[in-house]
């Protein structure tokens, strides 16, 4: 049987890698994909805890996380398409028009 902390360590590894992608990459598309990875590492934790403490709420929260992620991706990609059409750039550091 796999101990619980193995799953937690997997979640930590995926979270740190995803955070590196969000903070370091220059392409907005890759930043969004890393964000998906962050949310998924949290899902691993939810389901692992739900399984080991025999509680269905872990799986239910994971379902909600997946639903909200789908909404977030739809809106984010809509914004991205509008951005690419108006500013014709996909670099994070060149999109600074809201910086006061």
């Amino acid at each position: 049987m796999v101990p619980l902390w193995w799953y937690i360590v997997l979640g930590v590894a995926l979270f740190v890698i995803g955070a590196a992608g969000v903070l370091l990459r220059r392409n907005i598309l890759v930043v969004l994909m890393s964000l998906e990875l962050l949310l998924n590492s949290v899902n691993v934790n939810f389901i692992a805890f739900g399984h080991y403490y025999d509680d269905y709420r872990g799986q239910i929260f994971a379902i909600f996380v997946i639903a909200i992620t789908a909404a977030e991706v739809a809106v984010a990609l809509g914004i991205l398409v509008a951005l690419a059409r108006n500013k014709s750039t996909l670099k994070v550091d060149e999109v600074s028009m809201m910086k006061g």
Binding site: V16, N40, A71, A74, G78, I79, A82
Partner: protein, 166 residues
């Protein structure tokens, strides 16, 4: 047996995640993320959550990643390939990430709360039935709110991606 499968899937998912962050081409990143999601859904099967594994494959691999690939296809990504990382010094960010990882690892490994080796009670079949009973009885209001959020996101995405009327 279980441990071997877990190590296999976990190693594959971490390698795929590293490929996602390090790949030059966004298409390669998207494919690596797809592989990572497949490994994570295998881990969900190991955790005896088959419904979540199927939802993971349908929603993430089937819908979200195909949406990403469509957007990559629509937008010309060649100019963004040249430089992978943000210009300037990335040292503070790396230090922050290492601190974050070390902090979480120390918290997990030092605490006895995470050392549960066996599930508290073994399940006795009918998991999906019990899960859906909990979802549609105790969590009905959040479920409806989630569906309204999805509807609002649908409308918002259509409005955002539409061409401005001249």
């Amino acid at each position: 047996m279980d441990q071997g499968f877990f190590l296999l899937f976990a190693a594959a998912s971490v390698v795929a995640a590293l490929t996602l962050v390090l790949a030059r081409n966004p298409v390669h990143s998207a494919l690596a993320l797809m592989a990572c999601f497949l490994q994570i859904s295998a881990i969900f099967v190991l955790l005896e959550a088959p419904l979540l594994a199927v939802i993971q494959i349908f929603v993430y691999v089937g819908a979200i990643m195909v949406l990403f690939l469509f957007v990559i296809m629509m937008i010309d990504v060649r100019e963004a390939v040249l430089q992978r990382f943000l210009p300037g010094s990335n040292l503070p960010v790396l230090v922050l990430l290492v601190l974050l990882g070390v902090e979480m690892l120390v918290l997990v490994l030092r605490s006895d709360r995470f050392s549960v080796a066996e599930p508290v009670a073994m399940r006795t079949g009918g998991e999906v039935r019990q899960l859906s009973t909990t979802l549609f009885a105790d969590y009905l209001l959040p479920f409806e709110v989630a569906s309204i959020i999805l509807l609002a996101a649908l409308v918002g995405a259509i409005v955002l991606a539409r061409k401005e009327p001249r």
